[in-house]
């Protein structure tokens, strides 16, 4: 019985719901997503959970202590270009920054190997056309001094013109505003006075960072999805209340953790990408619980493969992201995505007789050839079926029937062109995608200064466990873990359910060493005060508030910044707070060099150079009620009879032959079971493919662990 912790994650195809009770029992359910009105799918998934728990829906809602929700409404509005009509007010003379895009074409999210084919490299359709941008006379300089006070007459004209053009949201971003916020604040007040119903987004609230292009895009993107998001959340909140949910609704955010519904309405940009991020934060929580502090997280779905890193129990962060080719500032749990999933298409270059897999994808519609919706090009899923990894009659617990003959025909078309057998071609498709994944994971870990061999790899998402043992062993990770068996396929919802409340506040104040503690500490003081005020609003009692402090530091004259944690919270200074104490300076320096060299290699730091603080940051967290997970009391080496399902012909590329392979029911295996590959473990949500030479174990939490020879 309750109180329950509930996490709901809305994806393109399915809406997942995970319920944790106080004894640590987990209920995971899925319902079809409802793109017209996502709230419907969400309530459906929750209804299924209530049924599973054998109680009326209203009663279930009443017993939820925290409902944390991950939504893609913002992302969808962006991708489908269905956001608000946004007007932008900025410093006069700099109206074009968002169009110039720093001279880049937003190539980050594109196939880099095609970057020189310019006809395919257009900039995005502008999210704010030039006629919705107004410049206003005002100017702040790099010291934060006002050089030109705000011209309010111009500002008023600008606001009125934009409203007259029908703008539903107004974004405000002035140069250097993060050093002096008054001009943006004043214009925001003016908008509220002139057009009270209009959504307002100020750069200092959403992204007070150095660099006007990425700050402007963050502000504009926030405004663009603001009205849509507010409508969605308000509607959802109302419906939940109607069904007796009485607690404040929490929304997952891309920084890892969750924010209140009010904060999400104010800063909807925080919700972008928060779904996959929950997968990483869930992994961080879980890895601390099971005692594996270093984790590479991999989430393989239909169209994309998302990788995250948890090091020493903490997710790795990035501070710049991109969406629809626009780069923007936001502290975010770092996720690298490549276009490789079950739906990735395998295409033969007939001229060179080579085979490529992805990044083009068949998506959910038409989907793989076996869906029978008209796609004839083989996908990774088709290869999995041909090989025997997936039983077409029992895909996702039999919910979707797949047509094996279509998979065979599709793979055959590729095999014929390459002069391979059908099995060889299918194994080739799987191998190419698996090795691509190994390449990207290696790149990401190495770039962050880590060695994959010091990590365990979590495989979740529908398609992940099918392929993870190959890329895991190729990377040389310690083991591959499919966390909590079938829960792995609803892992992001699990992550949402286990999310802490989190607020991140940042301030840029670039200063060279020797540092003045008073200058740094006063900023940290102020950031903490803002965080306290927000938590007060959230109704979080003082004793449940936790703060952590960090500084982004670099070598003066260079670009790379590294985040240095400050467990002390403040810099220790001399009596007058004008200089650091020698001890504090030494500690800071050492932390910087250690982290820098970890990231960039031994000898990369430049000991003679002055240091420079760029950004100061406070992370305020409040742990939600923690799910306690139950652990098996006894371990057993005996595989229960009912777990042995059948055998199936599976082609194993390493053995170069098809072999009758045992199939197990994942739900029936018990803690302590140990099975040698080759075999396949089926759950209702995914299949775990255990290759020859690989051993699978069920641990006390029910995780599937794979190790290699």
């Amino acid at each position: 019985m309750g109180p329950y912790l509930v996490g709901v994650d809305i994806g393109g195809t399915f809406t997942d719901c995970v319920v944790l009770d106080k004894r640590g029992n987990i209920t995971a359910t899925k319902a079809q997503s409802t793109p017209g009105n996502f709230a419907e799918g969400m309530l459906n998934a929750m209804r299924v959970a209530a049924e599973r728990l054998s109680m009326p829906f209203e009663q279930f809602c009443e017993h939820i202590s925290v409902l944390t929700h991950g939504t893609t409404v913002g992302t969808n509005a962006l991708i489908q270009r269905k956001g608000a009509k946004v007007g932008l007010i900025t410093t006069k003379g700099h109206e074009d920054a968002i169009h110039i895009m720093r001279g880049s074409r937003g190539v980050n999210s594109r196939d880099i190997s095609k970057v020189v084919h310019f006809p395919e490299s257009q900039k995005p359709d502008p999210i704010v056309p030039k006629r919705y941008i107004r410049g206003v006379s005002e100017r702040i300089d790099c010291f934060g001094d006002v050089i030109v006070p705000l011209n309010e007459v111009e500002a008023e004209v600008a606001i009125k013109e934009l409203i007259a053009l029908g703008c539903e949201a107004i974004a405000i971003c002035f140069l250097w505003s993060f050093r002096h916020a008054a001009h943006e604040r004043r214009v925001a007040e003016m908008v509220k006075r002139i057009a009270p119903g209009v959504f307002v987004s100020c750069s200092i609230d959403i992204a007070p960072k150095w660099g006007e292009y990425e700050r402007t895009t963050a502000t504009v993107l926030n405004a663009y999805i603001g009205p849509v998001m507010s409508r969605y959340l308000a509607n959802l909140d109302e419906q939940l209340k109607k069904h007796n949910y009485r607690q404040p609704l929490q929304i997952t955010q891309c920084g890892g953790g969750s924010v209140s519904i009010d904060k999400a309405m104010e800063s909807p940009l925080l919700t972008l990408d928060s779904g996959p991020v929950s997968g990483v934060t869930g992994s961080a929580y879980f890895s601390n619980l099971v005692g594996t502090p270093n984790v590479i997280t991999t989430d393989m779905g239909g169209t994309s493969f998302d990788v995250g890193i948890v090091a020493n129990g903490q997710p790795e962060y990035s501070f710049k992201s991109d969406v629809i080719q626009y780069e923007y500032f936001l502290p975010k749990v770092d996720i690298e995505a490549i276009g490789a999933g079950g739906g990735s298409l395998a295409v033969v270059d007939e001229f060179a007789k080579t085979l490529r897999v992805g990044p083009q994808s068949a998506g959910a519609d038409p989907g793989p050839a076996c869906y029978g919706k008209g796609n004839m090009t083989p996908t990774v899923t088709d290869a999995d079926i041909v090989l025997g990894y997936i039983d077409p009659d029992n895909f996702l617990g039999g919910r979707i029937k797949l047509d094996k003959s279509k998979s065979i025909a599709a793979v055959k078309s590729v095999a014929d062109k390459l002069g391979l057998t059908i099995n060889e071609a299918a194994a080739g498709i799987a191998k190419i995608v698996e090795f691509k994944m190994a390449d990207i994971i290696r790149k990401m870990t190495v770039e962050k200064g880590y060695d994959p061999r010091d990590f365990v790899l979590y495989a979740f998402g529908g398609a992940g466990p099918v392929h993870a043992s190959v890329f895991g062993s190729e990377l040389g990770v310690q083991k591959v873990v499919v966390p909590l068996r079938e829960i792995a396929s609803t892992w992001c919802a699990f992550g949402a359910a286990s999310a802490d409340i989190l607020h991140v506040y940042e301030q840029v104040d670039i200063q060279g060493s020797p540092f003045m503690p008073s200058r740094v500490n006063s900023v940290l003081e102020e950031l903490q005060a803002r965080a306290e005020a927000q938590m007060e609003k959230d109704g979080i009692p003082k004793n449940r508030r936790k703060f952590s402090f960090s500084l982004d530091i670099r070598h003066r004259g260079q670009i790379n910044e590294v985040e240095i944690m400050m467990p002390e919270g403040r810099l220790a200074g001399s009596k007058d707070q004008a200089v650091l104490t020698p001890g504090a300076w030494e500690k800071l320096r050492q932390r910087f060099y250690t982290r820098y060299e970890q990231l960039y290699g031994k000898g990369a730091s430049f000991k003679g150079a002055r240091l420079e603080i760029v950004t100061m940051r406070v992370r305020a967290t409040s742990p939600t009620q923690r799910p306690k997970l139950s652990k098996a009391r006894a371990m057993s080496g005996v595989i229960p009879k009912q777990a042995k399902l059948t055998t199936r012909d599976i082609y194993w590329a390493d053995l170069k032959k098809t072999q009758k392979t045992p199939i197990f029911d994942g739900a029936k295996l018990v803690a302590g079971n140990k099975i040698k590959g080759p075999c396949v473990i089926e759950t209702t949500q995914t299949n775990v493919v255990v290759h020859p030479g690989c051993t699978l174990k069920v641990d006390a939490y029910g995780n599937f662990e794979m190790t290699f020879k």
Binding site: S104, I112, F118, K123, R139, F143, W210, G428, A604
Partner: protein, 761 residues
Amino acid sequence: MPKVSEMKDVKFDGKLHGYVPPKKLNISSKLKLHTKFDKDIDPITYEVIRHSLWHVNEEHGATIQRISGSPVAMYALDLNPSILTADGEFVYFGPYMQYMSGVTDTQVKWILEYRSDNPGIRDGDMFLANDPWVGAAHQQDVMLICPVFWKGELFCWVTNCLHQYDIGGITPSSFCGSAENAFEEGICMPPVKIIENNEIRRDIEEVYLRSSRKPDAVALDFRAQLAGNMTARDRVLALIKRYGPTVVKGVMQKILTNSEKAFLDKLKRLPDGVWRDRTYVECCRPGDRRTHQVMLTLRKKGNRLIFENEGTADQDGAMNATYSGWRGAIMVALNQLLCWDQYFAIGGALRHVEFDPTPGTFTCATFPASVSTAPVQAMEISLYPAYNVLSKMLFIDERMRGDIMCIGGTSQWPATIFRGIDQWGERYGYLLVDPIGGAIGAFSTGDGISNGGQSRTPICRLPNVEHNEQSFPLLILYRKEVIDSGGAGRWRGGLSAETCFIPHRTTSITHDTLSSGNAIPTSTGMMGGYPATVNVYKFKRDTDIKKRIADRDMISDISEVKGTSVELQLRQENFLQHPTDVYAVIWTAAGGFGDPIEREAERVAKDVIENCAVSREAARSIYGVVISENEVFDAEATKALRAERRNARKRKDGPVKILSGKLVAQITDNLAVRKENGSIHTCCAKCSADLGPVRENYKDFAVRADNEITESNPHVGDWKRFIDDRPVFRQFYCPGCGSLLENEIARADSEVLRDIEITSL
């Protein structure tokens, strides 16, 4: 003057003349090359290793950026990593600074020829090199070249190149705009063994750093380059251990042969012919008022492409490039237009490309010419015309037509080189990086990309205004896209931008200019497309900007401030800018494609009313589109105006023959070739008006107008400010229907250029 191919007795060994690798390299027998490879590699293994090799190069580039951390590496991405075979053919080069591609293989081949005997090439060695006659774009581009050995045999090479802040010479930043020769420029080192047995040779490193004004930064960059090579070398070795040397080598060979096959297949679809382009560089040294002609000829003969520069002006002043610089520039366009689908594996194509320049010209200068400014002048002007000649060749094949691209910006770079004491009280000296925002040329299928970056650095970024203002004592009054800067055309060239600033928190800034393409447009259009804006420096002294600031009335254009306009020359040195002096610079944008009066009128109207890309005046004068003062598009008036224009262009002084023979090919947007009574004629692609036999220049049969150069783009001003030779904007119209066939920028005394000569159809 003779071409390289005609100078049989001259040594092209990288001393007096730039190094030209011979067909067969002369390698010491002391060095054992690993040559065995598997021919029969299954497509799966191929794809897995191919992807890994690509990633080796990506990791290599990322490592350099991370460790260097310099703005050069991080924003301008003025670096590039490569993997080459044991004998110096490209397997992959990176997506960063494309100029560096063409100078990499020559460096490696030179090392094989001249270092394999003494001091020898061994496992654990690396060579440092920046000699432009061996192969570097200019001295600032320093390469670190690493042989990868497997069991005592040279398996392959991994290399990288990274632009350095300062490696000496008479000007801080080592762009020496007034140098008379290479002795006044930065240190110049033929490949030297700086890493021996996996250790840095301190003596060599100290020699290298000694000339620099910023030795610490150069030393750190050197470590970044070192780490990059080590990362790449380790990864290649890991692949060899995993799959075996003959398999990895087999994949490398297959990457090359696949790219070669694809290249040959494309050439097979094209007729033989000759394509030419002509441009001009202005001002090779302070005080110079001449124009220096640049010629580029592309010959296609069967499965070979030959590039020549015959007709280019002599080397002079400080504007030159060496053989490898010229070659590297052309390879950028070659890779982007013809090999883009081979993902930076250009080695196979190069087996069929010859570079045959004329030594002593300024795009193929002999030692000791000044070459430190090569990438912003001689190489830009070697690269951009290459887009034109290649595009015209490719246009003939319908499938490749979608790949072509007009000249982009900056086809000449207007440098703002400044120095002084910054707002933090420290000495600084560098250049404004903003022109890296560039512009991408129009395509045959769509408009170019405004501020889409420089095509030669396809993933670069320009600094934010806030980055510039933090680093330098500037208050940037505006940075904006410039209306009408993109060349007009059926498809419009991308716009460029303008940056305007005053000194801030400093008493003054000391400036040098260094530019060309300010009088004569260098981003010419194609097939009737118009040129983009020229480079423009604007400078006003003793303005009322302080009053504007006090009145809270900021400007959007320098024309709004009152002050004394000063005409800056193109290599003006040591002039001061005080806080009341306003400085602005516009950089060249991108050329247009096709006749502007064939652009859909609604698109022009949208460019005026919504995109702020075209002015009302230009819409009328160039596009023939009428938009009223209150910004309403007038379709009727437009139709009438366009008809009138077309009519005026037609031949009035004689009959026009219309051909009806079999269409053989369409060779440009406006020209076709037809078989007429047994002979082959060029004709208008739209009305089939006869333009003479193909063996003659179609332009001689067209209606010709020699217009003032100012008519080519609204931003082109009075040429007399900078040069003595009068330039003209020539237009060639179809005598039958009045279509604009082609434009030509030329010195008034130059003969008409024969841009297309089809020799087999």
